[in-house]
Amino acid sequence: MAADKPDYKWVGTRTIRPDGHDKVTGRAKFGSDFTLSGMIHGRVLRSAHAHAVIKSIDTSAAEALPGVRAVITSKDFADQPSELAAAGEAMVNYKDMTRNVMAREKALYDGHAVAAVAATTVEIAEAALELIKVDYDVLPHVIDVDDAMQDGAPILDESLVPVGMDAKGPTNIAKRVEFTLGDAAKGFDAADVVLERSYKTAAVHQGYIEPHAVVSSVSEDGQAQIWCCTQGQFMVRTFTARLCGMPASSIRVTPSEIGGGFGGKTVVYLEPLATMLSKKAGKPVKMTMSREEVFRASGPTSAGSMTYKIGAKKDGTITAVEAEIRLLAGAFPGSPVQPACMCAVAPYDIENVHLVGYDVVVNRPKVAAYRAPGAPISAFGAESIIDELAKELGMDPLEIRAKNAAKDGTKAAYGPTFRNIGYEETVKQAQAHAHYTAPLGPNQGRGVASGFWFNIGGESSATVNINEDGTAVVVSGNPDIGGSRASLAMMAAEELGIDYSNVRPIIADTASVGYNFLTGGSRVTFATGLAVVEAARDAVRQLCERAAKIWEVDAEGVIWDDGHAKPASTNVGEFEPLSLASLAASASKTGGPICGHNAQNVQGAGPGFATHICDVEVDPETGCVTVLRYTAIQDVGRAIHPSYVEGQIQGGAAQGIGWALNEEYIYSDKGTLDNPGFLDYRIPVASDLPMIEAVMVEVPNDRHPYGVRGVGEVPIVPPMAAVANAIENATGVRMEALPMSPPRILAALDAARVKQAAE
């Protein structure tokens, strides 16, 4: 697919990232690295109950403690009406958001914030928390999604009215969604084989290594400055302004470097609290979450429970898929059940599809986006049952995927007709890869799975300033979470025709660049990249105009080529090309500063598809699963910086392997989180993983000047099923629930041995 690759100077090369030196020397400033003089420290009091009415809060003793400067509760925040706002790839309701950052009527999960204190030292703030008396009326709680849907389950919100369905009485079901293509019943009638299975996935945390951190400073005139680690400084401004009752113009948010987010930093937690504390105390307030607080109170993703039914002809043609997907949302509505349904069987061309999804509230922290929100959950079910179907039909698992692959022109069950997609190519490359036919040893098995994610565009603004010495500054507004500065600078260098090292990319605060939707949806290199390209082209247009002025010709007679203005043809005249540097040097005499600008709501994101191959070895004595080899093949559109594209693929696959094998939120019978730390919530460590081979298929997105597709999310979609399918291949045992941790594998192996002995 690389045959049509244009001859670029920078795009497609492996440059050194512009922020790299700061990040290998410890100079880079992350969230909690920021301090201000006169700063005081904020801490949050959190509910230890999973579900309790807050009858009263007495803060008087805390307020009287010397060194305490401010205490806040929900009384300090005006209530919000029910109104939806976009946060990342999900919608959030302001009524819920204000209750999530600070509990009002009820504490709805273990870790729910109920009060906050700012004091001159951390020690005093922590001592003050112990002096706050909260009178709770503890209620029965519900943790599991299926339990929460039962009649008689403890109800989180008596006033909840479900969307998309009728409810007989109070319910925890917040929403029902449905997608229908063709006629599933007819499809099953036409099938030679029909399978029906149930699957469950555990709630997992994004697991970014950097805890949430903020410094907020509100002046006496009401002007606020906020420094924080976030995936979107404009999101922080919008939400903090709303919750604190301030105009957006009075809040300036500067994003720090961000130590991972994966969707978990697309909402606010501490920012409104620090701002309100600062307003009350008249001092800058710093707040940092502990790791325990990150686990207990910031967004994990949903746990899921689902039932799939699939029908196929003997030749492997899938005739129908039916599924019910139930996702827990945490304490407030808003699980990613809609994208979970939409992505479930998106890689396939299936005539009859019927998908129903339920969004269910439970007594857990409100879920936040996590890398391709929802898709990994539904794909675990879909890609597991397709594997079972292949086995039932005696077909190769890649062959059945190839046979049913979505192509250009395929109508997806969620609505659109695909065009310009590379799914089939990922399957072909998987079939041709040496990994797929490599020999396996005893207790070893191989699994494959595919995945889909939409990717998004959205609002982006960028400025390209031409400096007086012929260098350039690219100003954009998306926190750089994994090398996007490099890709933006490379595209700008390509457009301007100057050296990459002469382009300085800056992530601006909310007062220094136009609005940018947050870093999420795999959108930055695509959408903000497009804004940067257009801004660079605007600068180039101005440069050409300056050359035209100097040459006294029409601007249309000047072209831009390799960093120089040149006459479009000999008809224009015989002129020596003018370099960007010379035009920049004379800018003051030809019209003033040269600043390219672009702002748009970018459309045309190209969907992402991936197919993964996984080899495992299962220890029959301990149930421990070791991933031996892993190959991730993905349509990346065009890789602007191949190393960071590979990094996204490898990192996504590794997170998926953790989700598959180890990670889960474990609750006590009191509804409190039992494993809020990295020791007991075990994310993959270096010795858990093999090298992860990233194979980049390049089917350029024809709606982007450099063919960019989002790449960050789809790699987390296939791994759980790929691992489960490999385990089945190794042991003959089908795991239908995550995580596939050693005790569960061992129990399943034992059950299979007992069954075998009985037969």
């Binding site: 410890g26 992350f30 909690s32 290594i209 130590g259 790791r291 990094g647 997170q655």
Partner: protein, 159 residues
Amino acid sequence: MAKHHVSVTLNGEPTEFLCSTRQTLLDVLRDELNLTGSKEGCASGDCGACSVMVDGRLVCSCLVMGAECDGKSVETIEGMADGEKLHPLQQTFLEEAALQCGICTPGVLVAAKALLERNNNPTETQVRYWLAGNLCRCTGYDKIVRAVMKTAAEMRGGA
């Protein structure tokens, strides 16, 4: 309670600080000495983002009290480069894109340097187990492990 007066050799320089009994070495580095290159990811010794060397031993600075460092030598990420010249590990991490968000990078680099000082020819498995105490959520470790092994090979070649 009175603060402790502590003298250390910090990245080769004699350094004094005052700390309370409850302050960890990580707290001291970040809050008293303004060296924020060492990161707090967990404060429980599970993530390795605060890795430093104390008297030549790799430790999580969140598990060492500031007061117990009196008379000791402490090396942090800030002392890894020699002036403008990056340590070969730092340079290779840049060239091999062995970082994404960068929060774990200082700890990983300090730990990797400690490994190469003990073993200049580690196997992939040795690198993986040595770095098992340094959590990275972005990279899947692939490029980190490659960068460490490549640096080891280069340093052996150059010796």
